[in-house]
Amino acid sequence: MASRVLRPADYATYALLLLGATAMLLPFAWMLSTSLKSGQAIFVMPPQLVPEEPTLDNYTRIFGTMPMGQFLINSIFVSVVSTAIMVLNCAMAGYAFARIKFPGREIIFYAYLATLMIPQQVTLVPLFVLMTWLDWGNTYQALILPSSFGAFGTFLLRQFYLKLPREVEEAAFMDGAGYVRIFFTIGLQLARPAIATLAVFSFMASWNAFLWPLIITSNQSMMTLPVGLSFLNGRYGTDWSVLMAGAVIGTLPIIAVYVFAQKYIIQGLATTGLK
């Protein structure tokens, strides 16, 4: 299909796709460009997409006045740990729901599914009360634990195991292994495609999470990048070149992950979204 002769309709398609792609990328280009301009250059009309005298001043300023490095570390730590917990507990529970028969299994599983119907905002106040009561405000566990469990992941893994033929596991069973050993030696490896999808979604959700971290952190040393950027927005409300430098710092890591994991993200979304 790649080698066929291009028809007029194909040129029109390309033209439209290019126009759309420009609209998608222009805000990023504008963000990067503004972040490299001096305070005055951003008000020059007509706007320059390529800065005449590019400068890294805004980046030095932002790292000098805000603990951006700390925000970055917090975001990475929180996202990685909550993704790891999410993947492990969802795979274990998904395996248990798919393979072990026990009384009440259906009811518990439907209770899980029911949580999918309820918007997260419903749990905000009680979660905040719980964290205050535990004295967990401004702690990693408060940032990590509430986003480390979920019915979606459990459901995804359960469906995966249900479709998986049992032959391999049967053999291990004959050798006298129990469910736990079979899960850790065979089950976990077999579920790699589903785990990869869940890991990517969980990481992105955690990395971009805003409302909960906003509520539970007030101390700058505990803020994640989105909350830090929002704090920056409050302080430098009109200093666009500094704000855009912050936006670039907040955007680059996730785009790097995206370039690396693009296949899993798009295929995962396409396959899990519809089933």
Partner: protein, 294 residues
């Protein structure tokens, strides 16, 4: 495979299922129940809790702020939903022509989806700046004097909608692309042999067969329309004069601004009721259409 004895089975459940049960119980199920209980109370976290029956719900129904948030949500849905679905579908159709470079285009359209809302909101706030923003400058090139966007009560929501469409198009596109893959090639080929043009092919084959995808996309987008928060919090903080205030913002403000935990919980259940009703209506509608087709 059920040869494992009772004891071994429950030991396995304790290891495999218990962590998830504890987590889901502590961070989902218990908070959901507590939230419902709290919604019948008046509580500022400091003084003793007071039980006020359905007082919070009565108040929510007549609260001008809630009414305004609902009106704003409706405006948002009307501006956002048809645009994001039709543009997303349009791009999916173009990408589905399987020309060279489609994966690169698909990847580009998806970049805003993975970017954090906070960063996106900052960029759009600057893009929509009335004097120095790129958008109004581009408009001036074609002789249009751009509006005050986020500073103008009658334009602020349009700015928020524009940013949200931009961010979500890639998501809709990818879901539609998956839906398009499911359409059997021979159906399209058969209609080509019958001499159908592209327009007829779309309306007689593609669009009806995409119905499940369209329902899925509209349901997801509707649900997210009721939950708008991040972009509004950064871009306008609900203003000017409340023109972009949303339900989630009211929950946030009442709970963490005014210390009204009970009232905030009640608003969150109103939000749930709205989302539940809309999802239910969508499902009923879909079933009815399935039946009339089959």
């Amino acid at each position: 495979m059920d040869g494992v004895t009772g004891r071994g089975k429950y030991l396995a459940l304790a290891v495999l299922l218990l962590p998830s049960l504890i987590g889901m119980g502590a961070f989902y199920i218990l908070p959901v129940i507590s939230s419902l209980v709290l919604s019948f109370s008046k509580w500022d976290l400091l003084t003793p809790i007071q039980w006020i029956g359905i007082g919070n719900y009565v108040r929510a129904v007549s609260d001008p702020a809630v009414q305004q948030a609902l009106r704003n949500t409706l405006t948002f849905i009307l501006g956002y939903l048809p645009a994001v679905v039709s543009i997303g579908l349009g791009i999916a159709l173009l990408l589905n022509r399987r020309l060279k470079g489609r994966t690169i285009f698909r990847a580009i359209y998806f970049v805003p989806v993975v970017t954090s809302w906070v960063a996106v909101s900052l960029v759009w706030k600057w893009l929509l700046n009335p004097q120095y923003g790129l958008i109004n400058w581009l408009l001036s090139l074609i002789g249009i004097q751009g509006p005050g966007w986020l500073f103008d009560p009658s334009w602020a929501m349009s700015g928020v909608i524009l940013a949200t469409i931009w961010k979500d198009i890639g998501f809709v596109t990818v879901i539609y692309l998956a839906g398009l893959q499911e359409i059997p090639e021979n159906l399209i080929e058969a209609s080509e042999i019958d001499g159908a043009n592209a327009w007829q092919k779309f309306w007689s084959i593609t669009w009806p067969l995409l119905a499940p995808t369209t329902f899925f996309v509209t349901t997801i987008s509707l649900i997210s329309s009721f939950q708008v928060f991040d972009q509004v919090f950064i871009m306008t903080n609900g203003g000017p004069v409340g023109s972009t205030t949303t339900m989630v913002q009211l929950i946030y403000k009442n709970a963490f601004g005014y210390g009204q935990m009970g009232y905030a919980s009640a608003i969150s259940w109103v939000l749930f009721a709205l989302i539940f009703t809309v999802t239910l209506a969508q499902n009923i509608l879909q079933k009815r259409m399935d039946r009339s087709d089959g």
